[in-house]
């Protein structure tokens, strides 16, 4: 077990370093730099001279050789200093700390909802004897996966906020402000879980041991929950680990629509302005989240299926 954890830790460090390095490279390959973008002031004609822009570039260390910039930033990052936002001058760690709770609430709410909703649909769809209901329930996931998040968010806000005035349309204060964004973010995730879970349930229900259980006189419910679910839940669980990263990506859209000042919005703004320190901060945060969730999923696996032993099993999608 200790050997396993050590290896996972080593892998995690590698993932973090790779994410950091690749994002650094990509940001520097883009045309322009944050100083020029700042001097442009959103496109309006300004009279910032070339010398002044150069001075700004110097101030942010953007005029140093690339290798040196990389080394300096990486060294600082290792010490927990991610630098300051080019645009606002606020330390990146401070920005992230401020935005993280908002996004964490959203992500947790959405994942929980997605798990409940997705499992419910899959279970009901796989167990009902009514053909039409089964058809309906099992076609819902395709609908959920294909509806664009942006559109779903706007429709929900139109109906439940502007029309019926049940939930606020923007902000992140209180539980009621969490409902609409969490539902929007949860729907595609729930659809994915339902799809995968329904398929693995179907496979499990076709196994011989189910026949045996039924033949021994177990009720349909007992067979479903006592035997099939346990075996069928490994694929959706693995999916949950991967989806944690997707939820961060979905937050970019959802937080923009519902005006929640979280990591997603921060990312969108930082990318537009090529605010390198902030983008890299977000990348590191995303990588850490990913590493932690896939570790958690790995550790849960053997609890569900004792045949899986963590010490020999390679990492999931790291």
């Amino acid at each position: 077990m200790r050997h396993y954890l050590l290896r996972r830790l080593f892998q995690a460090v590698f993932v973090l370093w790779a994410a950091y390095t690749v994002s650094f490279g990509v940001l520097y390959l883009l045309p322009g730099d944050p100083a020029t973008i700042m001097a442009a002031g959103g496109g309006d004609a300004t009279t910032v001279t070339r010398e002044q822009t150069d001075a700004l570039r110097h101030q942010y260390g953007l005029d140093q050789p690339l290798a040196e910039q990389y080394a300096t930033r990486l060294l600082h990052a290792v010490h927990g200093d991610l630098g300051r936002s080019v645009q606002s001058g606020v330390p990146v760690t401070h920005l992230l700390r401020q935005a993280l709770p908002t996004t964490a609430q959203l992500a947790a709410g959405a994942m929980l909802l997605a798990l409940v909703l997705g499992s419910a649909v899959a279970l009901l769809g796989s167990s009902t004897r009514r053909r039409w209901l089964r058809q309906l329930l099992l076609s819902l996931p395709s609908l959920g996966v294909s509806a664009p998040t942006f559109w779903v968010g706007l429709v929900l806000v139109q109906l439940l906020s502007f029309h019926w005035r049940i939930f606020p349309a923007f902000g992140d204060e209180g539980f009621s402000a969490l409902v609409l964004p969490a539902v929007t973010l949860a729907l595609p995730a729930a659809a994915l879980i339902a799809q995968v879970f329904a398929k693995s349930l179907r496979t499990a229900l076709a196994e011989p041991y189910i026949q045996t259980a039924l033949a021994k006189g177990a009720s349909r419910r007992r067979v479903l929950f006592g035997h099939a679910v346990r075996n069928a839940s490994i694929p959706p669980l693995t999916l949950v680990g991967i989806m944690a990263g997707n939820v961060l990506a979905g937050a970019v859209v959802v937080e923009t629509v519902f005006a929640r000042p979280g990591i997603g919005r921060e990312t969108a703004a930082a990318v537009t302005a090529q605010d390198i320190p902030v983008v890299q901060g977000v990348v590191i945060l995303g990588a850490v989240t990913f590493v932690l969730t896939s570790l958690a999923v790995d550790l849960v696996h053997p609890l569900l299926d004792p045949r899986i032993i963590t010490t020999t099993r390679p990492a999931v999608a790291a």
């Binding site: 883009l30 045309p31 322009g32 020029t36 309006d44 645009q87 609908l143 005006a259």
Partner: protein
């Protein structure tokens, strides 16, 4: 599997349709119009939705309109500018003199004005502010231009400050009315530029910065001991509102719906397509053209196609500005009538030069040797008249407008290829000159923006060397006499259009919507919202 696809897609469509229909049949209850007394009432908390995060609320560094809306109330300026006449009027300075060559400006300060921490607003504070803005360099993207050639400020006595420039700088007087050159307390100026962005700030205006949370909101409260006020305001002394919260709501549809459903009192950045709906709901619309250079296609005269004045003149009159405004924009927007928009000081109506006349455009092109090719696009000496237009998506309808212009130009045989770029790519293209026409505008209430845009020493958007234009631009910059300056500006405006360095299309417009309970919100000379006289019923 393929058998189940059809019912599914029908089902999807049905759900989608029902949701959209439900969303369209919006509530029929209309908010009661602002009944009751029309006398201002003190108190209340106004909420305002901004389209983007201000990023920096330090008035000296505020770089976007949204940042200026939040920062305007924090500082008073030396002067104010009357939005209807363009005249510069007293605010913190009760009077001023401008030297003959417009390089020295002497301001006489009003007695008794103080910063929010109680320190007096004196000549020393004026000097400290201008020195600080110069030190900010490119971090004050507007201030660096306003104070270009700044030699220093002489403190003549406690109430007299003399600002000296290396060269004539007539635009500086108007610049003293802007938010950018508003006065911060000396205590704040000692702090770092970064820390000022998020506050705290010691200001001179009627509102105090309580808190700025990046990405979320800016919270202001009334300054109880405020005694001043611009000579343009309806009342002096403290503002009526107890507090203002600016909340960042990026989606324009969500801003609109939040206003209509009473979740917010006022919004900025109203999209043209939302205006009619808001009006029908009984909300008040507040709109004003942004002063400065209208939204225009700047010709790259260094290229063979746009370098031909015949092509540029044909472009100018082949564009049907009225159709653009009527079909894509709204009644709040005006077709461009000059190389400055109508709210700019010293603007002159030159609509005669820009009148829509496709037949004449074709004649001009024919005469210059551009003859229609097989596909209808004109050709001359093997060069096809297919122009590359670059644009950045900084205004929602940009693309639709240009697609319409593309159709209009096609009718006279001019081809247009649109390249939609990020702001970074746009700048790169502008720098390298890899374009024929560049789409953009520039906001400034002083006509000196013409010099910024066209002087070969500054942005030189059209990449030209035109000694005659340069002479006019320099002349207006060194004219201390307003009448003389107006003449030079008028001539420069005309010169730009006659040479068709730029094809102005429409005037960028700031559109706000207010709920019926909001009164007396005013728009300043840069079309920014001001809240000192505002009150809630």
């Amino acid at each position: 599997m393929s058998g189940s696809r059809r019912p599914l897609s029908l089902f999807t469509t049905a759900v989608a349709l029902s949701l959209v229909l439900a969303a369209c049949s919006s509530s029929s209850s209309t908010p009661s119009p602002g009944a009751g007394s029309s006398r201002p009432r003190a108190g209340g908390h106004l909420t305002f939705a901004l389209g983007s995060d201000p990023l920096c609320v330090d008035p000296h560094q505020a770089a976007t309109n949204d940042a200026v809306y939040a920062a305007r109330g924090l500082v008073d300026s030396l002067t104010d500018q009357d939005p209807t006449t363009g005249r510069i009027v007293p605010w913190l300075a009760k009077s001023w003199q401008v030297s003959q060559d417009a390089s020295t400006f002497t301001f006489h300060l009003r007695d008794g004005a103080t910063f929010s921490d109680g320190t007096p607003i004196d000549a020393l504070a004026v000097k400290a502010n201008f020195d600080a803005v110069v030190k900010l360099g490119a971090k004050s993207i507007f201030g660096s231009g306003y104070l270009s050639g700044y030699r220093g400020t002489e403190v003549v006595d406690a109430h007299t400050a003399k600002v000296v420039f290396d060269h004539p700088n007539a635009q500086f007087l108007q610049a003293t009315s802007t938010t950018t050159l508003g006065l911060l307390g000396p205590a704040s100026l000692e702090r770092s530029a970064e820390s000022l962005c998020t506050g705290p700030l010691v200001g001179s205006g009627p509102f105090l910065l309580d808190r700025y949370t990046p990405g979320r909101s800016v919270e202001l409260s009334r300054r109880a001991n405020y005694t001043g006020g611009s000579s343009l305001w309806k009342h002096t002394g403290p503002a009526y509102l107890n507090a203002i919260t600016f909340t960042v709501v990026p989606e324009s549809g969500v801003r609109t719906g939040s206003l209509e459903s009473g979740q917010i009192d006022a919004i900025g950045g109203v999209a043209p397509q939302d205006e009619a709906g808001l009006k029908a709901q009984g909300e008040k619309l507040l709109a004003r053209s942004n002063p400065g250079v209208p939204v225009a296609l700047s010709a790259n005269a260094a290229r063979p196609e746009a370098g031909d004045i015949a092509v540029r003149r044909a472009l100018e009159i082949a564009v049907d500005r009225k159709q653009v405004v009527d079909t894509i924009l709204s009644s709040s927007y005006l077709p461009a009538t000059s190389s400055l928009s109508s709210t700019t000081d010293d603007y002159r109506d030159n609509s005669g030069l820009l009148a829509h006349d496709p037949a004449r455009a074709e004649q001009i092109l024919d005469a210059a040797g551009w003859t229609p090719g097989p596909d209808g696009i004109r050709v001359k000496n093997g060069v096809k008249l297919d122009l590359k237009v670059i644009l950045a998506p900084n205004f929602g309808p940009n693309q639709s407008v240009l697609e319409l212009v593309q159709q209009q130009l096609k009718k006279v045989g001019i081809g247009v290829t649109l390249r939609i770029l990020t702001i970074a790519d746009y700048q790169q293209a502008q720098k390298s000159g890899d374009y024929d026409l560049a789409w953009g505008n520039g906001t400034r209430a002083d006509p000196d923006i013409l010099r910024t845009a066209f002087s070969s020493k500054l942005l030189n958007l059209s990449r030209v060397q035109d000694p005659e234009l340069e002479k006019l631009l320099d002349a207006q910059s060194s004219a201390a006499d307003p009448a003389k300056r107006a003449e030079d500006v008028a001539a420069a405006q005309r010169r730009v259009l006659e040479q068709a360095y730029q094809i102005p299309v429409f005037e960028m417009t700031s559109v706000y919507a207010l709920s019926a309970r909001v009164h007396d919100v005013s728009l300043g000379s840069s079309s920014q919202v001001q809240f000192h006289d505002a009150w809630l019923s």
